[in-house]
């Protein structure tokens, strides 16, 4: 195998302070590894972290052998198809399944009546919570269809094509109801009401009559009125964004086998086997111990494959037919029947002093929740001012039900909307104050000790270093020339959570280690987790063989979400490594006839005085010293790892059509410690490109009956290879004090900046401020024409 690839554009930029903290973290790592303090201060030399090994699952994925859920085959497998509401809002009067049941090849039919009634109970799913009654009704409507595409029945048949034909024969009688799809319309007093049991919860105070507004959040610090009174310059603007989808290429899929002994086995394209198990068990009202979820390879998720859709339906069809049942969605079903991320209306106001210091901020954010309460308004509120040291601020946030699919997380859920609004005003303020937009941000950047509007005080974070790195990029230093061209910059923030993870590993006699972990691998995390175990054990990354376990083979692990896996599951792998070292030290002590505490471990070698034995050598002696060794760890780190980024874009705007071409794009981000730099860059490039799609073209286009008219990859218009340039990346490393190797989450932050970055670039190219997403050509064109006629 050749050495890992070509020179990459990324540079790690350890500043002085940075290097110090790297050192501290490394010392901490070493301390906890070998139980003693290394007095000499050294810059850590990781052997594995920071290298670019080939991912362990790579060969399967480039040869077509990797098994995704749709590829699963079981003996006697049958296929199912869903019947979905054609109406955006309708009462289900009756469902006649008789014709479908008679269709040749049909083996089972289910409707909402086949599912148990689930109480109004909130289940914690790790990243977010869900009301189980709503979850059940979202998987299969009972009385009312709340959006076009809402599942109302399902048919299982010998072939998928016959199941789809039979599904057409199910007669559903609907009583159509008025629908509402725009968030501000749904907030009106006389708006069509989706639920008669949803009341506005205003920070614990519950409203008296049913409302589409499920929640009114309020966050406040300082004295906002006084703050604005002291400002020399105040800018207030309104912003709109449309519903967008995660756009993973693999449609949702599930295979269920309800066995004769009552045990249910599910193969699923899920971001979290354990939350999938919990949700499915709750909806079916069976104990979780009766369900095993086997996570398959997953073709992208970005937050959209946490909630269940098909699993309980496939399970119920399996129970009825006695056969394993596969359900896969069509692309149209994915758009119309799963959880996109919300449309929003935002009004944001910022005040600054003449010297460029921000003094006050105010935000009024209304995000649609889709058909059921519980959208992503919370993080939206927390993120809107998260990049700045803002002494006085207030945020009002509204979670609003509308007749669209229930919204779900999409990479930094809620943050991209808010950053589009806040960063655009920051850009305007910088311009008005005649300051460089990065200098203006540096002057106000959040740092260690800054209190965010929702309360938390930041520990050591890397926004300042990220902005400085952005300023020093060849891109920012270059001169942009040519007509109709402009450059924009913007910041981005995402929390990056911790939560529960488990890992177990067994030491093989040849010195390799078989690792089982619980995080479904969407983007190479098997490798980033395995690398941390390898680093801990002082062995090559290739000597760890990672596997993602099912719910019966590994301890509880939360979803692959919140940019948590490399951080939290990596932490579990690290602790699992410590457990192995402890046990192996005992074996070494046995060989050397000393006390285990006398055995020291460093860089893959066990020592006691002049005696030493390598990890590999000792592994070979395990059979004769008591048998195999299994290390294990389960962790639950709390709090956020706080990831900050800054993006730079150069665009050209066609003055006649309004079409925006991205000429050059750079993403800068603090990764804490980049475990596998290629995959960190990959996250930055992929997130940036999703953000570019959101900025320029992606949206759910609704007609006046509340039906989506562009539910295909053709008209939803995600970026192709021809729509983006190379995405340059700069990885900043300000170690996370809460991780032995300094790791921070990286996955989500990169989607946050692009819309604001591109809006700023468009302004500098064409002189128009775009405050609506997407900034589609027709909108830019219209804005330019209006400006010209002024």
């Amino acid at each position: 195998m050749k050495s890992p690839l070509r020179k990459n554009k990324s540079k790690r930029l350890p500043s002085k302070a940075n290097r110090r903290s790297v050192r501290r973290a490394a010392q901490a790592a070493r301390r906890s590894t070998n139980g003693r303090t290394n007095g000499r201060a050294k810059v850590p030399k990781f052997k594995v972290l920071g290298t670019r090994p080939i991912r362990h699952d790579g060969a399967d994925k480039v040869t077509g052998r990797a098994i995704y859920t749709a590829d699963v085959k079981l003996a006697g497998l049958i296929h199912a198809s869903m019947v979905r509401s054609p109406h955006a809002h309708a009462r289900i009067v009756s469902i006649d399944t008789s014709a479908a049941e008679k269709y040749p090849g049909v083996l089972a039919v289910v409707t909402g009546k086949d599912f148990p009634n689930v109480a109004d109970k909130i289940a914690e799913l790790g990243e977010g919570a869900v009301n189980l009654a709503h979850l059940s009704a979202n998987c299969m409507a009972k009385d009312k269809a709340l959006y076009k595409g809402h599942a109302v029945a399902a048919v299982a048949a010998a072939s998928a094509l016959d199941a789809a034909e039979a599904a057409k024969l199910i007669q559903v009688q609907y009583e159509p109801l008025p629908a509402v799809t725009w968030v501000l319309d749904a907030m009106k007093e006389d708006a069509p009401l989706l639920h008669d049991d949803v009341y506005t919860d205003q920070m614990g105070k519950v409203g008296k009559k049913p409302s589409n507004v499920a929640k009114h959040l309020i966050f406040e610090i300082g004295d906002v009125k006084k703050g604005f009174a002291s400002a020399d310059l105040v800018i207030e603007r309104e912003f709109k964004t449309q519903t967008v989808h995660q756009g993973y290429i693999e449609p949702h899929a599930a295979v269920a086998l309800w066995n004769a002994d009552g045990h249910l086995t599910i193969y699923s394209a899920t971001q979290g086997a354990f939350t999938c198990r919990q949700q499915t068990a709750e909806v079916l009202q069976v104990p979780v111990s009766q369900v095993t979820v086997i996570p398959c390879e997953i073709g992208g998720g970005f937050g959209g494959k946490i909630s269940i859709y098909l699993e309980p339906v496939a399970a119920m069809l399996s129970k009825k037919s006695g056969r394993p049942v596969k359900m896969t969605m069509t692309r149209q079903e994915v758009f119309e029947g799963t959880g996109p991320t919300p449309a929003s209306f935002m009004r944001v106001k910022l005040g600054a002093k003449k010297n460029g210091k921000l003094v006050a901020g105010e935000a009024w954010l209304a995000y649609d929740a889709g058909a059921y309460p519980g959208g992503v308004i919370g993080p939206g509120c927390m993120c809107v001012f998260s990049c700045y040291d803002l002494p006085n601020a207030r945020v009002d946030g509204f979670d609003v039900c509308v007749n669209k699919p229930q919204t779900k997380a999409y990479r930094a859920p809620g943050a991209t909307h808010a950053a589009f609004a806040c960063e655009t005003i920051i850009d305007e303020l910088a311009e008005a104050l005649k300051m460089d937009p990065i200098d203006f941000r540096l002057k106000n950047a959040a740092k260690e000790g800054t209190r965010r509007v929702d309360g938390p005080v930041y520990p050591r974070i890397g926004l300042v270093e990220t902005l400085q790195a952005a300023k020093n990029t060849p891109h920012y230093k270059s001169k942009l020339t040519g007509k109709n061209r402009g450059r924009g910059v913007a910041c981005g923030f995402w929390f990056n959570i911790g939560l529960k993870s488990s890992a177990s590993a067994s030491v093989e006699p040849d010195g390799t280690v078989a690792l089982v972990e619980g995080s479904t691998d969407i983007g190479g995390t098997r490798t980033s987790v395995a690398m941390q175990l390898a680093e801990t054990l002082g062995i090559p990354a290739e000597d760890v063989h990672p596997k993602v376990g099912d719910t019966d083979s590994i301890g509880y692990t939360d979803v692959t979400g919140g940019s948590r896996v490399t951080f939290a599951t990596g932490l579990a792998a690290y602790q699992c490594g410590l457990d192995i070292i402890r046990q192996m030290s005992e074996r070494a002590a046995m060989l050397w006839d000393c006390k285990p505490q006398q055995v020291k471990f460093d860089a893959g070698v066990f020592r006691n005085g002049r005696k030493s034995i390598t990890f590999k050598e000792l592994a070979a002696k395990l059979p004769e010293t008591g048998g195999g060794i299994i290390g294990r760890a389960t962790v639950d780190p709390q709090g956020a790892t706080n990831g900050f980024g800054a993006h730079i874009a150069d665009v050209e705007v066609d003055p006649e059509t309004g079409k925006v071409t991205i000429l050059r794009y750079t993403a800068v981000q603090d990764a804490g410690k980049a475990v596998h730099p290629s995959y960190v860059e990959g996250q930055m490039q992929g997130g940036a490109t999703q953000g570019i799609g959101w900025a320029l073209n992606e949206e759910y286009f609704y007609n006046d009956q509340g039906r989506m008219t562009n539910a295909s990859f053709l008209d939803y218009r995600m970026p192709t290879a021809l729509d983006v340039p190379m995405i340059e990346t700069v990885i900043v490393e300000v170690p996370n004090p809460a991780h032995p190797y300094g790791v921070r989450g990286v996955g989500e932050t990169p989607i946050v900046s692009p819309p604001a970055t591109i809006a700023s670039a468009i302004y500098h190219a064409a002189g128009v401020r775009m405050r609506e997403l997407p900034m589609a050509p027709y909108k830019v064109c219209k804005a330019m024409m209006e400006k010209a006629s002024m």
Partner: protein, 288 residues
Amino acid sequence: MKDFEYAAAATLDEAVSLLAARGERAKILAGGTDIIVQLREGLREADLVVDVKKIPEIMTYRFDPASGLSLGAAVPCYRIYEDGDVAAAYPALADAARIIGGWQIQSRASIGGNLCNSSPAADSIPALIALGAACKIAGPEGMRSVPVEQFCTSPGKNVLRRGELLVSIQFPPPAAKSGSHYLRFIPRNEMDIAVVGAGAWLRMQDGVIAEGRIGLAAVAPTPKLAEQASRFLAGKPASEETFRQAGELARQSASPISDMRGPAQYRLHLVGVLTRRALAKAAERAGA
């Protein structure tokens, strides 16, 4: 999708008799990139699918500078743009063939299929209109020919009668000092449906435009010839001002709708811009 019968017709007569016998319930399969999706998504239905790719006349591909191009209706797009002689003789045709879907589509999709699908936004039809192509149709009553601008009748509908099928598209021989171009406006850079498409063809003589033709897509229920704008060109200099005025006339002939691909007002605006750009490029290719 319900199952259907499949027949690979070997001759035109066989295809005509199959189509005549089944009428609306029979559908023609050429490259399949439209019809298979439409059958699958329930937009069209069939009891019989007639594969025409084994019929020699439908796969003909014959170019001779003196007699022109005879393009079999099921010849895939890639054959056109990979053929340097044809691409040079009919640049607007090659322009269109190169942007219908991606490479995977162009390996299968044909110009004839694009015509028979009869979408208002079809990319090849404005180019065919500009180039003055004609459709050769076989049917129970024998062969007939229809000018390409008269082929489509409404969205998804065309002049083909029961038992008829498109055999080939005939292009007149390339005229001296002529040039053509097709371009479309799409929000992405590929893999998109035209918000507006414009094809232009010009023939120069004695330093002025002798004649010109402009075809438009996505501005009316069918792709259309912008007659007034086309007529206007004769005798005018190949100048930016001429093209701007032609664009304005083309705009007046457009009656677009608003949908998810663009608002009507924007489409009207684009007709002017694209017509002008298409003409300028066609003129450049004509050596004006």
